[in-house]
């Protein structure tokens, strides 16, 4: 992790508690993190580890029970609707399930136009808007001509997820939070999505927070990795360090339990 890069999103003692009294559950328990600009960070955890709750807090969709989140070096302020709107210009997301990520009553044009409007392009002439949409579509290898006047559900899962990336390309946020963006699509389309995420980072110097349960995928894409267990980060560091030379027992177990190709997969350790 190079500290030369500018601070982007960091947190100290971030905690989320659901419920009260006997039903109290601590979903995220005092986690500290520091994501730098242009970095791809993976948060790896199994189901129930609290990674989705953490991602929703980072997005400002749910409130933080305790702790501070710093955005670009300053404390994040999302106390009212206007400030939230401002914050969301800096952070955007791609979710796991492309089929539920679209309002099925809106056409694809509306999805993309909405992004242009949000970036303040509401009063641009139509030609310019179309040029922007065409550019965004070609960024993700889609043909805008074929998409216009169509509904998102007429596309395949991989195409829908690519359209999500086109949306991010138009919004150009500082941070992209990708919550398992490839887990619902086929292996052959996965490479395309990952390539495009990397291209986004390179072209816009975007910070990408990659949330996944697949430790191999985290190793493949990220610069640094945070391993999460029961709401806590048990280990973090550069991808090479964490995955190839894991220190925490949990990380070691996790890596041990994933089937291997090049090395022997030891089945006796269960």
């Amino acid at each position: 992790m190079s500290d030369k890069r500018a601070e982007c999103l960091s947190g100290k003692g971030v905690t989320k508690v659901f419920g009260m009294g006997d039903k109290k559950t601590v979903a995220v328990d005092h986690v500290d993190f520091d994501f730098r600009e242009g970095e791809i960070v993976s948060i790896v955890g199994e189901s129930g580890s609290g990674k989705t709750t953490l991602s929703k807090m980072l997005l400002g969709l749910i409130s933080v029970t305790e702790g501070d989140v710093m955005f670009q070096g300053k404390p994040r302020d999302i106390s009212n609707g206007q400030k939230k709107k401002e914050y969301w210009k800096g952070i955007q997301a791609i979710f796991q399930d492309p089929f539920s990520s679209y309002n099925t009553f809106n056409k694809i044009d509306a999805v993309l136009l909405d992004c242009i409007n949000m970036r303040g392009g509401k009063n641009l002439p139509y030609e310019e808007k179309f040029a922007m949409m065409r550019e965004a579509c070609s960024f993700v290898n889609l043909e805008f001509k074929e998409l216009t006047n169509k509904y998102p559900f007429e596309l395949s899962g991989g195409q829908m997820q690519r359209l999500m990336i086109a949306r991010i390309f138009l919004l150009k946020p500082k941070i992209l939070l990708a919550d398992e963006p490839t887990s619902m699509i086929d292996a052959c389309s996965r490479a395309t999505i990952l390539d495009m995420l990397l291209k986004l980072r390179d072209e816009i110097n975007m910070t990408i927070i990659f949330i996944t349960h697949d430790i191999g995928l985290a190793y493949y894409v990220s610069d640094s990795v945070y391993i999460m267990e029961h709401g806590k980060f048990v280990e973090h560091g550069s991808a090479e360090d964490v995955i190839l030379r894991p220190k925490a027992a949990y990380t070691q177990r996790l890596i041990n339990d994933v089937p291997k190709i090049y090395e022997e997969w030891d089945l006796s350790t269960v």
């Binding site: 929703k56 969709l61 939230k84 969301w88 539920s100 990520s101 679209y102 309002n103 009553f105």
Partner: protein, 416 residues
């Protein structure tokens, strides 16, 4: 959207329900235009006239006459001697007349009377018959003789000077009038009710009124249910708790009891058609609220709503564009069911005498109420209540059929 509508009209259940409902609705619109009489006009002077065409006797007598060489006797015999009398005649003939039972055919009135004339005698030995029964047979015999006499009917007029009756015309048994020549005719397809009103006209207007009650109740219940469900589900927290508390309270108190209490406290004279619709509406929204709320809660956590929030859309816009369209199909179905249950609730209320005030319009429930009060089922006046029951059943059936059809289109799990 277009596709969905096409799909809806491909569902046979929906189409059948829709046709029945549209037919009922069109009848209530077109019939009053064609037949402009007041539905509450008391035409008949008496209770429960049976269905049929009524012609003026005076017009018939005074109208031009046609002599037809047809056998009028057997038809009159058939209709003038009651079935009971025929049974009695048969009994007598078998017991005392010495006629074999196999030779007697009750259906053949002429033959029966022939046998009767040949075998009956007042003085025959009638062992085991009470004297009143004997007298009954004597009377019956005279009756039959009268029918067989076939004399002309004399029409007499009072002479204004002398005050004496003078024969003005006679009507022979072979004389007929053409019903078209009779100026004053009235056809009651479904007869008249206890107040002497034409049941058909009344029924059409009642259906219209009941549909209006159902529609008002449905609109109000659906609007309240939808509004509270959306707020409760989307906002959550304390608002949700409060709304659900109220909803649960309304759910536990049986809404029909509530309906009776409100209707009663409003008072007989103030209860118009619209007010009854409103009262039914505000007591039946709870289920819509509950199901809309649960659907909104599951929608609220969908990623497209999260993305819409991230795009900086206002709550109003998210609810209207990202949540409401997903509920639309459900709300339409709930609305249809609410109309149906509103009509039934009105019928129930009116049966109890708590329906709309009776003076200006009939409703299906009121018609049932009157039929019951005047003992129509007991005196065999089926036309006063049976068509009403059929109409209520048809409305409920068609609406429910439409609902099931829609459900099959919108809910893929139920398809086949």
């Amino acid at each position: 959207m277009k596709n969905t509508i096409r799909q809806v009209f491909h569902s046979p259940k929906f189409v059948i329900g829709f046709i029945i409902f549209a037919a009922l609705l069109l009848t209530t619109i077109i019939y009053p235009i064609v037949v402009a009489t007041d539905p509450l006009e008391m035409v008949g002077n008496g209770n429960f006239f049976k269905p049929g065409t009524y012609v003026s006797v005076k017009d018939a007598v005074e109208g031009s006459k046609y002599t037809l060489n047809v056998d009028v006797q057997s038809a009159s015999l058939g209709s003038k001697i009651s079935a009971e009398d025929k049974e009695a005649m048969k009994e007598w003939l078998v017991k005392f007349g010495g006629v074999a039972e196999a030779d007697i055919d009750i259906e053949d009135a002429e033959g029966l009377i022939g046998l009767w004339e040949a075998n009956y005698s007042e003085n025959a030995e009638q062992k085991g018959l009470t004297s009143s029964k004997k007298k009954y047979y004597v009377r019956l015999n005279k009756n039959i003789d009268g029918i067989l006499l076939n004399n002309d009917v004399i029409i007499a007029q009072e002479n204004s000077e002398t005050g004496e009756l003078e024969q003005s015309a006679s009507i022979g048994s072979q004389e007929f009038v053409n019903t078209k020549d009779v100026a004053n005719r009235r056809t009651f397809i479904l007869g008249t009710d206890n107040f002497g009103r034409d049941v058909l006209t009344e029924l059409v207007h009642a259906t219209k009124t009941s549909l209006r009650v159902g529609l008002i109740a449905g609109v109000i219940a659906t609007l309240i249910g939808l509004f509270l469900g959306l707020i409760s589900g989307y906002v959550g927290g304390v608002v949700d708790d409060l709304i659900m508390f109220i909803t649960n309270m309304f759910t536990v108190i049986p809404s029909f009891v509530l309906l009776i209490l409100i209707s009663y406290s409003v008072g007989q004279n103030a209860r118009g058609v619209n007010l009854v619709g409103i009262i039914i509406g505000i007591t039946s929204w709870t289920w819509t609220t509950r199901s809309v709320r649960s659907q909104v809660i599951s929608l609220r956590n969908r990623d497209h709503v999260n993305l819409s929030k991230l795009s900086g859309h206002s709550m109003m816009r998210i609810v209207l564009t990202d949540i409401l369209p997903y509920l639309a199909s459900y709300v339409v179905m709930a609305f249809i069911l609410q109309i149906s249950s509103g009509i039934l609730a009105e019928a129930q209320l009116s049966m109890l005498g708590l329906g709309p005030s009776t003076s200006n319009a009939a409703t299906l429930g009121l018609m049932m109420n009157w039929a019951t009060l005047y003992a129509a089922p007991l005196n065999g006046s089926w036309w006063a209540y049976f068509p009403v029951v059929i109409t209520i059943a048809l409305i409920a059936f068609s609406l429910n059929l439409m609902n099931t059809g829609l459900d099959q289109v919108f809910n893929p799990q139920l398809r086949d």
